[in-house]
């Protein structure tokens, strides 16, 4: 689809239309721009049997695992960055003899390579990796191939083509032309690898704003199915130039997630107990003053000819 018709819709509609039970779902973003608002709506709509894929499951997948959305996790680092563990994840994996979550585990490079292959519509991606490690023994989908030119043995990982990828971004136009700055992670590869793409933005802008700075566009509208305007939709993750990471909440998650009762209480109050992200923000009025970003503008460039 290449027309400029509006794809703007509420989060509720985007999740209802594009995320189905049993799907492989990717909510990407490396520390930056992790779309908690989409994860929370998936929990509210009670999706089941999802295969959740991400480099770093982070708090959002810990919450979705606790809420019973996930059948399988595909990942490369499952911790609470700078803090410790994801306890819902650990409970689902450490339960002796009755693990409730299937795992498919790579390293970061392996996951990046899987998205790169998926985005380029190749069946696999070669990389110099995994020699001497126990990862291929733990995951038989990590294999190897002899280079047809040099004979060198290269590791391979299979393409990852999600059913749906959610990308949080600073801004997009109504057609889904999406601009991201700051850490860009693997969002572009994940979006191009995916069958369906939901873009969630801090701000909806005119097409003219996008066209004034085209090098900042990571995702073109032609691959986007829905545009959701959701200010603060990444909290407690962050959006560069909009709001800071809520490190205090990441620290607090250690205590919340360690206790299944407290975790359930959190989901009841802040996820199932609110209608949408606006209500989530209204419950926590001090967040804006505490986390709103200061101004640090770039000097700009001349696109003239």
């Amino acid at each position: 689809m290449t027309d400029n018709a509006s794809k703007v819709m509420p989060m509720r509609e985007a999740i209802a239309r594009f995320v189905h039970d049993g799907d492989t779902v990717v909510i990407e973003g490396f520390t930056h721009l992790i779309c908690f608002a989409a994860g929370h709506e998936i929990i509210r709509q009670g999706r089941r049997d999802l295969t959740l894929a991400r480099l770093t499951p982070d708090l959002i997948y810990d919450q979705m695992i606790a809420a019973g959305c996930a059948r399988k996790l595909v990942f490369s680092w499952a911790g609470n960055p700078g803090v410790g563990s994801l306890h819902a994840f650990r409970r689902a994996v450490e339960r002796q003899g009755a693990a409730t979550l299937e795992l498919e585990e790579y390293s970061h490079f392996g996951m990046v390579a899987r998205f790169s292959a998926g985005a380029a519509r190749l069946p696999f991606w070669p990389l110099k990796d995994y020699m001497g490690t126990d990862l291929p023994a733990a995951n038989p989908r990590i294999r190897s191939v002899a280079c047809p030119y040099t004979g060198e043995r290269l590791a391979t990982v299979p393409a990852l083509n999600p059913d749906v990828t959610v990308v949080h971004a600073q801004r997009a136009d109504v057609a889904g032309n999406t601009q991201i700055w700051g850490l860009v992670g693997v969002q572009q590869e994940a979006a191009f690898a995916s069958t369906r793409v939901i873009v969630v933005v801090e701000e909806l802008v005119d097409e003219a704003v996008i066209r004034s700075d085209p090098n900042r566009t990571l995702i073109p509208g032609m691959i986007v199915d829905a545009v959701v305007v959701e200010p603060w939709g990444a909290h407690p993750s962050y959006a560069q130039g909009y709001y800071d990471r809520d490190n205090d909440f990441y620290v607090a998650w250690e205590g919340i997630s360690r206790d299944p009762g407290r975790l359930e209480g959190y989901l009841e109050e802040y996820v199932r107990g609110v209608a949408d992200r606006a209500a989530y923000m209204a419950k926590q009025p001090s967040l804006v003053a505490r986390l709103k970003a200061q101004e640090r503008y770039s000097s700009g460039v001349n696109y003239g000819f």
């Binding site: 490396f30 520390t31 930056h32 480099l55 770093t56 990942f75 490369s76 680092w77 499952a78 911790g79 960055p81 700078g82 563990s85 994840f89 650990r90 994996v93 450490e94 002796q96 003899g97 693990a99 585990e105 790579y106 390293s107 970061h108 490079f109 990046v112 390579a113 998205f115 790169s116 990389l127 110099k128 990796d129 995994y130 020699m131 001497g132 490690t133 126990d134 990862l135 023994a137 733990a138 060198e152 043995r153 700055w181 700051g182 850490l183 860009v184 992670g185 693997v186 572009q188 590869e189 962050y238 560069q240 800071d244 990471r245 490190n247 990441y250 970003a293 640090r296």
Partner: protein
């Protein structure tokens, strides 16, 4: 440990920075003897000059003022696999006799007693960085003879030399602990006692290691942190004691 680790970095080197103590060490080095150290974070920030100590390796302060922001494909393909990383810093729940590191599971993989976070970028850093430095406190549970799972390969994974397995980097050359520095022995590949902190006896180090520790013929003495290093660590870099504990 942070001050000792910082001294291992030479000015102008390109360092792949992990979170925690390595992050502190790299920023200390940048403010003392290595102002031209190039910090590359897994998240994509290249030439980062963080104004605050980042809690996570994806902190927004890493982006502000950096030289370049890469996508993660760029980090792993254009920087790491391309051979641009001179030093990698690694830590882990378990480090063994040959510097293999486990950050994946305690116990069997299928039914772990403790599920740890996993590799992240550690496996490929251990394979590609020209040399790696391991930072970990001594404790026999953290230093078993053999790790439960090799996440990041050391000097003799599968009993073979790294070159035979096709690994570009030299692997772990030093283990910096809270009592001593161990170095990889050229011949055996074993992590070998090389230098002691002031007031530490050989027996104190052996007590924290789960294998009979070989030692160099002549042991060095690690110089204590200077006033400048301590002041920077305590007052400037980590005033909230995020990483400086004890």
């Amino acid at each position: 440990m942070a001050a000792v680790a910082a001294r291992e970095l030479a000015d102008g080197e390109v360092v792949f920075v992990g979170i925690g103590l390595p992050n502190l060490a790299c920023n200390l080095a940048r403010r003392t003897h290595a102002p031209h150290l190039v910090l590359i974070y897994e998240s994509g920030a290249v030439g980062a000059v963080p104004e605050r100590l980042p809690v996570s390796i994806g902190d927004p302060a890493l982006v502000t003022g950096s030289l370049m922001v890469c996508g993660m494909a760029g980090v792993f393909q254009l920087m790491l696999q391309n051979g641009r990383i001179e030093v990698g810093f690694l830590g882990g729940a378990q480090v063994d006799r040959y510097g293999n590191i486990n950050t994946t599971v305690i116990g069997p993989y299928e039914r772990p007693a403790v599920r740890l976070p996993g590799s992240g970028g550690a496996a490929e850093i251990a394979i590609h960085a020209k040399r790696t430095l391991i930072v970990s406190k001594l404790n026999p549970r953290a230093f078993p003879e053999r790790v439960d799972f090799i996440t990041s390969p050391g000097q003799r994974p599968d009993g073979k030399r790294r070159r035979e397995l096709g690994m570009p980097g030299a692997g772990p050359v030093k283990v910096i602990t809270d009592k001593a520095i161990l170095e990889a022995d050229e011949e055996s590949g074993e992590m070998t006692l090389a230098a002691l902190y002031p007031g530490v006896a050989v027996g104190d180090v052996q007590a924290g290691v789960g294998w009979p520790l070989a030692r160099r013929a002549r042991l060095g003495e690690v110089a204590p942190p200077t006033e400048t290093e301590l002041q920077l660590l305590r007052d400037v870099l980590d005033p909230r004691k995020l990483y400086l504990k004890g």
